[in-house]
Symmetry: C2
Subunit: 332 residues, 2 copies
């Protein structure tokens, strides 16, 4: 008897449930509360509505809803220097007692003396020596522990906060909004892939397998019967500029339909993304907020945005103004 | 009033629903119907139950339930030659009219004359020339079309069936069973990553971003204003032997807890997987069924299984006998 009532009531209940769902969807709160109303917020919402409207001309199946995000300067602060460079310099200082020769050997001497100008002059060769000394010569598990320990305590010089709390609240909301609409979100960064992986899931909700980055040659070795992945000082892949579409191919195997960056290092990623067929979205975060964060674009050495600004009006491309588009920069 | 009835009935309905679910779970059909009962089937089921038992000592969170599968000889037939080699040879024949010089130039002449012995003698140098002529010099979209067209019509010489129908039914069930238990399944193959990606989702339920394979150097170029990813004849990465744990690191960033292979090319992948802490599963498919498929192991040139057999009894490793463990080889 109870079963009969249940069966008879089922259609009614199903109907009530579907009404309840659609009412709650209609009344849902703003998915991008830290974004000021304006053309950019509207562009995001219109894009998402277009590609998710099943009966619309721009519908994209969920498996092809791929969105890629640069990291430094797009998801978190990159001035006055890339966080990974701050890590490398701290690491040189931590390792210095084991390397007395560094006191009189550049580029290490420059780091220990805090002489950034001399360090800059050591160029790519100097940088590679520092990477070799701080990022290689250990296995992947050891490197993960070193980076995890560092990032859980290191603080940004201007804001005096953990680097992982200096992420952009509007971009966190954007990633959540895209994921809630069936997108798979990826980081595609010039930074080291193994430097990022230990914390991207906790901070951005992006798991290790959705992180694309630069890498060094890693070798599989069995040492004293224990298999290890050993990090060598040789560069394997640079995930920057022309490298970004290649990194996307390698890791994702699909062309994104949305891409977000902040510098000319992201130019090709946005170009590749927006050149595809159908509705596309490409956005550069413009650092124009000296009060709340930093203001820089064409003239800076870190995160230079030049070609990106020149092309601001191209189809599907947008420039996000941190100053005007973002109500809030960092999470509370 | 209707609402009131609904609310009052809710707990009853919820209870009925949960009873229905648990009854159906208890009475559920065998998830591995093509596997004969025995130690190997039991090892798979015990492993899955152990890592998914929330209160058990071997519980693994869903995000870390990573299972990797070799492709050739593990998921589909690899004799008498790798399918990708059959593709390359067919491609040489298709392109021959545009290359009259191939009639008198090895290794192409050997291919056109069907002289496999001479082709074999041309070694790695000859193979690289064939790859250069058949896999490079076009963009990724063109290559995808070429491979998709080929695989939709090419047939296996012994079985006279599409290659994509010569996949192993027991392994399809195994992948489904793992996915139903929260695993993420990956292909980790020595084959070309872009050769596999066009069909892995349809055949195995594995999307492009979960395919790891060998690759050639691909370059981002803007040609006549149109961005392209151009395939070059230079090898970028060989996803075989020691390369497999490296490919897994690059693409997944996590150590698998289960790995499946069939040859010594998979040895390091199984070694890396089973050497990790906690419950692990490593299985080699042993081709010992000359009647229904092929029988080969230590002496063959394709899919040699030597070290894998020697280590058969190591912790967490298993040898699957196609003859004894599998009721059925191919889907109906």
């Amino acid at each position: 008897m109870k079963t009969t009532i249940r069966i008879l009531l089922m259609p009614v209940l199903a109907l009530s449930a579907s009404i309840a769902v659609s009412v709650s969807a209609g009344a849902q709160s703003d998915p991008l509360p830290s974004w000021n109303d304006g053309a950019n917020k509207q562009a995001i919402v219109s894009f998402v509505e277009a590609v998710t409207s099943q009966d619309g001309p721009d519908f994209v199946t969920p498996g092809d809803r791929v969105a890629t995000f640069d990291n430094d300067g797009t998801l978190w602060v990159e001035h006055p220097m890339y966080t990974q460079l701050a890590f490398a310099l701290d690491r040189v200082k931590a390792l210095a007692p084991q390397h007395p020769e560094w006191k009189t050997t550049h580029p290490f001497q420059s780091v220990l003396e805090g002489d950034m100008e001399a360090l800059g002059k050591s160029g790519m060769k100097g940088l590679m020596e520092i990477i070799g000394a701080t990022h290689a010569g250990m296995n992947t598990a050891e490197f993960e522990k070193i980076t995890s320990d560092w990032i859980s305590t290191a603080k940004h010089p201007k804001f005096d906060k953990l680097y992982t709390s200096l992420v952009y609240q509007p971009m966190l909301e954007l990633m959540d909004y895209l994921r809630a609409n069936g997108f798979k979100t990826y980081i595609v960064s010039g930074g080291g892939i193994e430097f990022m992986r230990p914390w991207t899931e906790k901070i951005y909700g992006i798991p290790p397998e959705q992180v694309v980055g630069s890498s060094i040659v890693t070798e599989y070795k069995v040492i004293d019967g224990i298999p290890s992945l050993m990090r060598t000082p040789k560069i394997a892949f640079l995930d920057d500029k022309e490298g970004k579409p290649v990194g996307i191919l390698t890791h994702i195997g699909k062309r994104p339909i949305a891409a977000f960056g902040n510098s000319d290092g992201d130019y090709q990623m946005l170009q590749w993304t927006t050149a595809g067929p159908g509705k596309r979205l490409g956005m550069f975060v413009h650092h124009d907020d000296a009060n709340r964060e930093y203001a820089y674009d064409r003239e800076t050495h870190i995160g230079t945005l030049n070609k990106g600004l020149d092309d601001a009006l191209k189809e599907g491309r947008h420039i996000i103004s941190m100053k005007n588009d973002w109500k809030q920069i960092f999470p509370e």
